[in-house]
């Protein structure tokens, strides 16, 4: 189980490498990734054991039940992954299970933002490229995949596809500043100045 990168200190995230887990389907919401009853806790510990718990229960062939993908570190998904609830418990569960990156057709903004805060990039690729990558992993689960933040490419066996991050998120990963708290606390007098200018703080 990989530790949350934010707990081990920020560092540059230049690449993610490992095998893949193809999870097909559009609009997979965070209630499905992490059902609400597992939010009944004051810590994130152990969430990896509850990923897709209801979907896995309903479908023995669910990819998260498939032993061929048990050691996967790159999750490959379709459109609008992570929509719905803002619960960070969903990406926390994925990080704790060992995932280091996602590649998908599109992501909900809140989910992608939460993942970035944990050092786990959500790369966007075209629908056809995502489908080819998913098919390749399904055919050969042991294929090593390398997703590069700097080059903007993912290579899996003979397949090479372009992958993208929003420019500011890409730069934040490459510079090691993807966990922004220290930056937000830097030059704090500027924050106080902005607050002091707001009519609802300064007084109407």
């Amino acid at each position: 189980m990989a530790a949350d990168r934010s707990e081990t200190g920020a560092g540059a995230v230049v690449r993610a490498a490992g095998t893949g887990l193809p999870l097909r389907g559009h609009d997979i919401d965070t209630d499905r990734i992490m059902p609400a009853r597992f939010l009944r806790a004051v810590s994130f510990e152990g969430l990896e054991g509850h990923l897709f718990e209801d979907d896995r229960g309903a479908d023995p062939a669910h990819p998260f039940n498939d032993p061929r993908y048990a050691r996967a570190t790159i999750l490959v998904v379709n459109a609008n992954f992570g929509c719905g609830s803002s619960r960070e418990h969903a990406p926390q569960g994925l990080v704790r299970r060992g995932f280091t990156a996602l590649i998908g057709e599109s992501f909900s903004e809140i989910f992608a933002g939460n993942s970035a805060m944990l050092g786990m990039p959500c790369f966007v690729a075209s629908a056809s490229d995502v489908n080819r990558l998913q098919a390749l992993i399904e055919a050969s689960p042991e294929t090593p995949i390398e997703a590069r933040v700097d080059a903007g490419t993912a290579v899996a066996g003979a397949l090479a596809i372009p992958i993208a991050l929003p420019p500011a998120v890409r730069d934040a990963f490459l510079s090691g500043q993807w966990n922004p708290t220290a930056m937000l606390l830097d030059r704090y007098d500027e924050v106080r100045a902005v607050a002091a200018r707001l009519p609802y703080i300064a007084g109407y």
């Binding site: 939010l39 960070e88 809140i110 805060m117 930056m183 007084g203």
Partner: protein, 478 residues
């Protein structure tokens, strides 16, 4: 250069451009609750950070709080542990908390506007995706994750990329029996569940202008269900009338000065948008969802016309071309941050009065806040619901997400005034949710099946005491 409200509020709260290229945005109001904050406070302590603006941070308990027996310690031990953690954290850092016993407790998105904490021109963040609700008062409000809750506690700031703005005009008049909920379900049906990714939605047009602030909250609340992280309505006289006199609203002369600023931050008439969409209010009818995301909806008399979505059809048990009308229901839930305010309960009670809940239906009303509950009791609405066979509960999120003990069982079908029909959302992995307006939920509870509310409204007396400007102005504990 003419600007939108989004641009003006964004600019007024921008601290600087971070080395990463993101904007450092000051958060004018931070709302926290028991589920997404405990880990954030732990991270704060690990790093030795303090809470920079405790006076701009407000807390309440809503997600896991029981709606039945509220004596402490709660019978639900995890609810007690999570509530206790929030109480300790707020005490340690000097944050105002409306805990379970407090007269101001309620769903975080209900109490913010109700107390006048939410005001036009603010940036608002909360570890809950339905924070978009607060946009109904002309704020830019969005949901964040727990690591961002940590950042806002530690710095009162977020690192964000700006959103584009899509103007959504709804012109015309809503027919009787058609509500704000039908408007937003229709918008999401039209634009899709990810049509709003990258956008803030600005709602306007004569139908939105005519809405009360509470109705606008219903619309803004579900912006996130269309993928839009924020949604807002420009502040106007309806907004100002709603806010005047509320506990945290500016007093007396200061209120009039505040109104001048609030008018200035509204979108300029000549502002341009990244995209525009228009709908006719007259074309909208009572709308219900049939599937497993909020865009999968139809008009009450329409056949399900969706493209093949085998997963949704299999889970819900509908066939393509079928109608939702006539579907027997097991549970009726009136409540949530979408539709748990006093005007929602008033309208539902109007339908319920003198009728009985079908014996095969478990029906519950969960007020959005204790203030809503008190006001409903003052108006006698609770008795109307109880007499009809509804359970009258304490305030909280309840069966919207099934985090407390209010949950569907097995494959039960629930007519729900909430916001999400995701698989498993209401606490049972196989439970099924049909989203609709609270009046439609009340009608379904009585009929025992999904029906068109409009025939049931015929002959029902008009709402008494309806006050469009001040709707939902409810009394607060001090």
């Amino acid at each position: 250069m003419p600007e939108t409200l989004f641009q003006k509020v964004w600019n007024a709260h921008t601290v600087r451009t971070l080395p990463s290229g993101q904007t450092q945005l000051f958060v004018g109001l931070h709302l926290i609750h028991e589920v997404t904050s405990p880990q954030a406070f732990d991270m704060l302590r690990q790093h030795g950070w303090s809470v920079r603006f405790p006076e701009r941070t407000f807390a309440t308990v809503d997600h896991i709080v029981p709606t039945t027996r509220r004596t402490r310690p709660f019978f639900d031990l995890m609810a007690e542990e999570m509530t206790g953690a929030l109480e300790r954290n707020c005490r340690q850092y000097g944050i105002s908390l409306y805990s379970a016993e407090d007269a101001n407790q309620g769903i975080v998105h209900v109490i913010g506007p109700e107390l006048g904490i939410t005001q036009p021109g603010m940036t608002i963040a909360c570890g809950d995706s339905h924070t978009s609700t607060h946009g109904a008062l002309g704020a830019i409000a969005f949901g964040i994750g727990t690591s961002q809750v940590r950042d806002v506690l530690a710095s009162q700031c977020l690192a964000l990329d700006p959103l584009k703005v899509r103007r959504i005009d709804v012109d015309g008049r809503l027919a009787p029996g058609v509500y704000a909920k039908d408007v937003i379900l229709t918008i999401i049906r039209k634009l899709g569940v990810h049509g709003g990714v990258g956008y803030a939605y600005e709602y306007g047009g004569s139908a939105i202008d005519a809405m009360s602030v509470e109705e606008r909250m219903t619309v803004c609340n579900m912006s996130i269900e269309g993928g839009a992280r924020a949604g807002y309505v420009n502040p106007d006289d309806t907004t100002f009338a709603f806010l005047r006199g509320r506990r945290f609203a500016p007093p007396d002369d200061a209120f009039d000065r505040a109104v001048r600023w609030w008018r200035q931050i509204a979108t300029d008439p000549a502002a341009s948008y990244h995209d525009r969409v228009a709908l006719r209010a007259d074309d909208i009818g009572p709308t219900v969802t049939w599937g497993i995301n909020p865009s999968q909806s139809v008009g009450i008399h329409e056949p399900i016309d969706a493209p093949a979505d085998d997963e949704a059809f299999a889970f819900m048990g509908f066939a393509p071309g079928a109608r939702v009308e006539g579907t027997p229901i097991d549970v009726a839930f009136i409540g949530s941050c979408t539709n748990g305010r006093i005007s929602d309960l008033e309208e539902a009670a109007r339908l319920v009065r003198g009728r009985r809940v079908s014996p095969r239906v478990k029906a519950l009303v969960v007020p959005g806040s204790q203030a809503v509950s008190r006001e409903a009791e003052r108006r006698g609405l609770h008795q109307t619901f109880i007499d009809a066979g509804f359970e009258w509960r304490g305030a909280g999120c309840s069966m919207c997400l099934g985090m407390n003990t209010d949950r569907l069982e097995g494959r039960q079908i629930c007519a729900s005034s909430s916001n999400r029909n995701f698989k498993g959302r209401q606490g049972s992995p196989t439970g099924r949710t049909l989203l609709m307006s609270p009046a439609m939920v009340a009608a379904a509870a009585i009929a025992g099946e999904v029906v068109d509310v409009r025939p049931m409204l015929a002959g029902v007396p008009a709402r008494s005491g309806a006050d469009p400007a001040g709707a939902g102005k409810v009394s607060h504990g001090r």
